[in-house]
């Protein structure tokens, strides 16, 4: 053999497939115990192909380059007091939600891929899972690192991992991942590779991050884009494993279809948080939630499902509901957080008149009709010195765990109620999607840790709200929670910018 450089395909073969060995003294079923219980039939793992043909040596090389770029920007951001140059301090609340709600999911993904990487009989899939596991660990680390800078200057960042495991709205993303990780290895791949990467992160890490850049947050946009470049690989892996399962055996088709239906809906429901981050938490507007949704969900999903049609895979029925909700979702989400702003570890606020006009323009069919009157009423209450907070805990959906704030798309002024009875008890849901998921596997979802019910059962620090919010959640009451108006964050922000003005005055005077 000459000493020429190996081409990509040969290198992939040698550094991936060639790592496999014959199992001589143990049965295959004993080694890969979780490969068959979900009903997925694999006849030939050698058909698995990683489209990027990424090998470990190239992985380290390019990941190291990404890291160097990333940390150079973090340093520059910190050295230049980047926190003072974001569009407005209200924006930082989206980042608090990101750190408490999303970054811990990256850690869950790291654990999940380390686990499933062990469960597959095919070496190609195992190596791909190993790399993805490392990616996810990198994401959680870089995100915590980037946001630690904000922790020095703003409230609400201090106890993110403690909060992730306890706070009511964080049970939404947390339970999404708990659901995926307690499923079998193939379902996990559909849940995370398809739903989380394809549906969720593409909306969170692309249009939202572009918005972060537009609002002066160079640190966040950089970790976002850097993470998403890995996600592009993950989406491809997710799509690859779906196609692989479909090609391996026709019996896999209905199973995969059900997982796609389920996880498209699960992922979409988690996106509720991203919808309001886009429309309400970015002071400088780039594109609306609806516009992003049309590009990264509708357009992307229809392309994907057209491509999968040759296997007999169809667009899930629930997609029609998701599409109908696009003109409502962000407003309903922000209403939930405005209602319960006293129980959140970030600040909420009423949109300004100018922001409401932008929302009217972007949502001509819905905003003025359904949502503006609500905000105007809340403004009247605020002006009367009685900022509205909902005094009673909300009813939650058994599956997605979001307060039942979604409405019937035939009459958007009515809450969408669904109910099932199972083994003598009632279970309540926000949608057909969430109800069907429960009905198919009730023994899983009877275990939902619903924060409101847990409070009423006495498992969250006590009977008084202060015990729950301050003691159990560790929200610094009066500091981390309540309206942005009157918060210490607001006072500091005004102070910084007041100081700047004073300095300018001094300069001029001299």
């Amino acid at each position: 053999m000459t000493a020429r450089k190996l081409n990509l395909k040969d290198k992939y073969r040698l550094l991936t497939r060639d790592l496999e060995w014959e199992y001589s003294y143990r049965d295959y079923e004993e080694i890969f115990k979780q490969e068959s219980f979900e009903g997925i039939k694999i006849t030939d793992w050698s058909k698995w192909e990683d489209p990027f043909r990424l090998t470990m040596d190239a992985y380290w090389k390019y990941q190291a380059e990404k890291e160097k770029k990333l940390y150079a920007i973090f340093d520059a951001f910190a050295q230049n007091n980047g926190q003072q140059n974001v569009a407005d301090a209200r924006y930082v609340n989206a980042i608090k939600l990101f750190l408490t709600g999303v970054s811990p999911l990256e850690y869950q993904a790291y654990n999940g891929f380390a686990h499933v990487g062990r469960q597959f009989g095919g070496v190609g899939a195992r190596v791909a899972c190993q790399m993805q596991s490392l990616d996810e660990l990198r994401h959680v680390q870089t995100q915590i690192h980037a946001m630690s800078h904000y922790n020095k200057h703003f409230d609400g960042f201090q106890d993110f991992s403690h909060m992730h495991d306890r706070v009511w709205y964080l049970s939404v993303p947390k339970s999404f991942f708990d659901d995926a990780r307690s499923a079998g290895p193939f379902e996990f791949m559909v849940a995370i590779g398809f739903s989380f990467e394809y549906v969720l992160t593409n909306l969170l890490f692309v249009p939202f991050m572009s918005g972060a850049a537009y609002n002066g947050d160079m640190a966040t946009v950089t970790f976002g884009f850097s993470a998403q470049s890995d996600e592009a690989r993950h989406m491809t892996l997710g799509l690859e494993i779906i196609k692989f399962m479909l090609e391996q055996h026709e019996d896999n088709v209905p199973i995969v279809q059900r997982w796609i239906n389920k996880w498209l809906w699960r992922g979409y429901r988690v996106l509720t948080l991203v919808a309001m981050m886009m429309d309400y938490m970015l002071p400088n507007k780039v594109m609306s939630w609806q516009e992003s949704f049309e590009v990264y969900f509708e357009e992307a999903a229809s392309a994907l499902f057209k491509d999968l049609a040759r296997y007999g895979i169809k667009m899930p029925d629930y997609a029609a509901t998701a599409i109908a909700e696009k003109e409502h979702l962000s407003h309903q989400a922000w209403s939930i957080f405005y209602n319960y702003g006293h129980a959140a570890a970030f600040h909420t606020w009423l949109p300004t008149e100018e922001e409401m006009d932008w929302l009217s323009e972007k949502y001509p069919n819905t905003f003025d009709k359904y949502y503006r009157p609500r905000y105007e009423q809340w403004r009247r209450m605020e002006e009367a010195g009685e900022r509205y907070y909902n005094p009673t805990l909300p009813m939650l959906c058994q599956t997605c765990q979001i307060p039942m704030g979604f409405t019937d798309m035939d009459d958007p002024t009515l809450v969408s109620y669904r109910q099932s009875e199972y083994d003598g008890d009632r279970y309540n849901f926000c949608s057909d999607g969430c109800k069907d998921i429960f009905d198919f596997e009730p023994e899983k979802y009877v275990q939902s840790w619903l924060p409101v019910h847990q409070i009423y059962q006495g498992h969250c620090g006590g009977a008084e709200m202060e015990d729950v919010l301050g003691g159990y959640y560790r929200i610094n009451l009066g500091t981390d929670n309540l309206d942005y108006k009157g918060s210490p964050d607001e006072a500091r922000w005004n102070d910084w910018h007041g100081l700047e003005t004073a300095e300018e005055k001094l300069k001029k005077a001299s």
Binding site: G184, P373, Q377, R426, E443, Q447, L450, H453
Partner: protein
């Protein structure tokens, strides 16, 4: 198949079983077309609580911040229990009239349709 699991006959713990609520049951209350309250509310209540108390005590605690609350004509309210039309008996206990654990009581107030008729 009640769940895909690696063990046979897997059974999940019922986290919200009635017995876990210290003698109470969960009651959900929703006021139709009044989405200023972003979602229905959840309350722990004794199963023998008379329905009159729901109107007299729970409703004001949950919904009185709405400017239309004081204008409600309770005799003209339209009720639903778990999606079915329902006429509550003010003196009877909740459980006695079929309002069991995790039931939804919805009410509509004809003529009162939220802030400026917007459903909020």
């Amino acid at each position: 198949m009640p769940v895909a699991a690696i063990v046979d006959n897997y059974r999940g713990e019922r986290l919200d079983a009635l017995a876990n609520f210290h003698g109470n049951q969960i009651l959900y209350l929703g006021w139709d077309h009044h989405l200023m309250f972003c979602s229905p509310v959840a309350l722990p209540v004794p199963p023998d609580m008379p329905f009159g108390k729901v109107i007299g005590e729970l409703m004001p605690g949950a919904f009185s911040l709405h400017p239309e609350f004081g204008q409600i004509d309770w005799s003209g309210v339209v009720w639903h229990l778990n999606g079915e039309p329902f006429t509550p008996d003010m003196d009877k206990g909740l459980a006695e009239q079929g309002i069991d654990h995790k039931s939804i009581v919805r009410f509509a107030t004809p003529g009162l349709d939220g802030i400026g008729g917007s459903g909020s």
